[in-house]
């Protein structure tokens, strides 16, 4: 049975296989490859149907900026939930590189971060260790925000 994730505000089956850091074999089907695998096997991977890449917290999106059209999905890993670099990576993907595909949070992030992740351009969350149904409530923690971000490009002071 495929695992469940939150995507675009609902709980869905996850179709993707996440390949760990040291993978060398490339299986069939939708896969999310580590950056190192993408960099070493670009010629094999490019043009493949249903390809995703994942970035670790010390791998900023500029590594894949020129190759984004190859990916249906970019996943950003949170090795520990207090490592907040991924929040900026999400924004960079959307704002700087205008990436339109799925941006997925993976790793050790926690449900209390979902509201902020959404604001930073994430739209999918492979959340572990929490009940997904109740985690959905977290997106409604705040009714609005002061700052401009991906979900609301106008800051509060321009809207009121």
């Amino acid at each position: 049975m495929p695992s469940k994730i939150i995507k675009d505000g609902v709980i869905v089956d996850d179709q993707w296989l996440l390949l760990p850091q040291d993978t060398t074999d490339i299986p069939e089907g939708p896969i999310i490859v580590p950056l190192s695998l993408w960099e070493s096997k670009k010629d094999i991977l490019a043009g493949r149907e249903a390809l995703g890449v994942w970035l670790d917290s010390d791998e900023p999106p500029e590594h894949i900026a020129s190759a984004l059209e190859n990916f249906d999905l970019v996943a950003i890993n949170f090795p520990v939930f207090v490592d907040g670099r991924g929040f900026s990576y999400g924004r960079d993907l959307r704002e700087k590189y205008h990436y339109q595909g799925e941006v997925r949070a993976i790793g050790e992030f926690i449900r209390d971060q979902l509201f902020f992740l959404q604001r930073c351009g994430f739209n999918a969350y492979a959340l572990s260790g929490a009940e997904l149904e109740s985690a959905l409530d977290t997106f409604k923690d705040f009714s609005d925000s002061y700052q401009a971000a991906i979900d609301q490009p106008e800051p509060y002071f321009r809207r009121h």
Binding site: G84, I110, F116, S145, Y146, Q147
Partner: protein
């Protein structure tokens, strides 16, 4: 002062609900200690040595009588009947119950207060001059800009999990009363040749284990770009700041490692994407923010008449004269003055205030200063708009409640962290050291003869007591499980900021007051024509102090 609109209130209420849910999940065992840690910290809750500590935000140090009364009520009902003003213009409660914190936050929200981002690795409370909007040497009131930054930094989605805490301070006057050079970002409000407002921005200052004075990153940033520029700095820091070692995680380490020019280049690149975008501030937004900080309705007063009367009162009552000279500052409006209420009375921990005293301050603020109160980073309180003819009456009330110690900026007006008596991080106690020094130098004539001296005490390297920038700094250190104190000289927090130099080997707690006495006597013997402690040190250097202190 700033008044919440419906939306500000809603956000704070939603935060209380969010934290109540988090606390319930924690108590039910659904979230781990590690996961709960940043959640409670970003709501101001530390776990201290003996009990939790709740730090309540006072944005840029301005609050009112109603809020002070609420703090009195909370400290009485949920705590042990006192609070502690910190060096970041906040107030700390030392004995709340973790289970009751959501209720405390709900009570605070009733009076437009909160504990949001008073701790944790996020953007903290923006601080400024405690005399803002009143100081005679002020270019503009910095608080409208502080308020704009407060909004931007509150629940900033990208910067809630930074490498380390992040502190921003503003100043807008000749004297820098906000120590902006000692902040992650220091912002000075300036005017260019055409009279337009902008900001001179410093980056990478800070105390702690590696004290650094901030470096200028931009000389004049036109005001509309404030938010986009700050966002660019933070985004660079969030991505490149070190996360492998918490002692090397502050922005000062990054700026120093990269060099200011390379750091500025990165910021400029990031800023190019944001500049002139939707976060660019509008004239309407500046006007809206300023509308909350209009001067109060001053009464027209003949200033020279008022001064003459004060002189007569000072002659008749030298106690009042002392207080007038030390605890009262020049105001920008004729006939008005700024009063500092000293929280540095011998026998009481610096910055501590009881519930009864809080209510007394609330009453005095209403009677004498338009119901407005300030907290200073030197851990005193300020009534910023007092009519000169009411100073004498105010002084008498201040005396009754223990606020009239005439020592502002003098030796016994020490900055001091809570230290090992409360704080889990401390290596040594700081409060007994402060107390012993206050007792030893209680002779007021001697203290005045010494002139203005900043003496700052921290119980550990984290430097919450700002020991690096005291003219005399005392740092608690741990030597094989015993508490010792290292002394430094020559620090300064003003425009001519400097970091103190360590005098030599450290001392036991009992030795400290005598060592301070030797340092002061050395100063007295060296000074020429009323030279200040700091100037004398800068001229004569460390050597003579070293000789007298360590002489066998």
């Amino acid at each position: 002062m700033y008044i919440y609109n419906q939306y500000d209130q809603q956000l704070v209420d939603e935060r209380v609900a969010q934290y109540r849910g988090q606390t319930e999940r924690y108590l039910a065992g659904e979230i781990s200690d590690d996961q709960f840690l940043p959640l409670r910290l970003q709501n101001g809750l530390y776990i201290q040595r003996l009990a939790p500590m709740l730090r309540v935000a006072i944005p840029y140090g301005t609050f009112n009588s109603q809020q002070m009364r609420k703090l009195a009520h909370i400290s009485r009902h949920y705590d042990k009947g006192y609070g502690h003003f910190s060096t970041r213009q906040n107030i700390q409660l030392n004995w709340p119950q973790l289970e009751e914190v959501p209720d405390i936050l709900a009570e605070l929200a009733e009076v437009q207060m909160h504990a949001i981002q008073t701790s944790g690795n996020c953007i903290r409370n923006t601080t400024t001059d405690q005399f803002a909007g009143a100081a005679a040497d002020e270019l503009e009131d910095p608080r409208p800009y502080c308020e704009i930054v407060r909004k931007w930094s509150t629940f900033h989605p990208e910067f809630a999990f930074l490498p380390r805490k992040f502190k921003i301070a503003f100043c807008a006057s000749k004297a820098d009363r906000a120590a902006i050079q000692m902040h992650d970002i220091g912002i000075e409000v300036v005017h260019n040749a055409s009279g337009e407002t902008g900001f001179r921005i410093l980056v990478g200052g800070g105390l702690g284990r590696t004290p650094v004075i901030g470096t200028e990153i931009i000389e004049f940033l036109p005001k509309q770009h404030l938010i986009t520029y700050l966002e660019a700095i933070l985004r660079v820091y969030n991505q490149l700041g070190r996360r492998d070692n918490k002692y090397k995680a502050r922005i000062k380490i990054l700026v120093r490692a990269m060099g200011i020019d390379a750091f500025r280049d990165k910021v400029e690149q990031q800023w190019a994407l944001l500049k002139d975008g939707p976060s660019t501030l509008t004239e309407e937004e500046f006007e809206r923010s300023k509308s909350y900080f209009h001067s109060p309705e001053y009464i027209e007063v003949d200033d020279s008449d008022a001064d003459l009367k004060l002189q007569q009162q000072a002659l008749q009552d030298p106690g009042f004269g002392n207080w007038l000279k030390r605890n009262v500052d020049a105001h920008q409006a004729p006939g008005y003055a700024i009063v500092t209420l000293s929280l540095k009375t011998t026998g009481y921990a610096p910055g501590d205030i009881s519930d009864v005293q809080m209510e007394a301050v609330a009453d005095m603020a209403e009677q004498f200063s338009f119901g407005e109160i300030r907290a200073s980073h030197q851990q005193n309180l300020v009534l910023a708009h007092v009519r000169k003819e009411q100073l004498f009456a105010l002084w008498e009330q201040a005396k009754t409640f223990g606020f009239a110690t005439p020592n502002i900026n003098y030796l016994t007006d020490m900055i001091c962290c809570p230290g090992g008596d409360f704080c889990a991080l401390a290596n040594a106690k700081s409060l007994p050291v402060a107390d012993a020094i206050q007792r030893k130098f209680d002779d007021i004539d001697y203290m005045y003869d010494l002139g203005e001296i900043d003496l700052n005490i921290s119980g550990c390297m984290n430097a919450c007591g700002h020991h690096h920038i005291g003219h005399i700094g005392i740092l608690g250190v741990d030597k094989k499980g015993k508490e010792f104190y290292q002394i430094s000289l020559g620090g300064s927090q003003d425009r001519d900021a400097s970091l103190g130099k360590i005098l030599g080997p450290s001392f036991s707690q009992a030795e400290v007051p005598d060592v301070i006495e030797k340092i002061l006597n050395t100063y007295i013997s060296l000074r020429i024509d009323g030279e200040s402690f700091l100037d004398t040190y800068r001229r004569a250097g460390l050597a003579p102090y070293k000789e007298s202190v360590y002489a066998k």
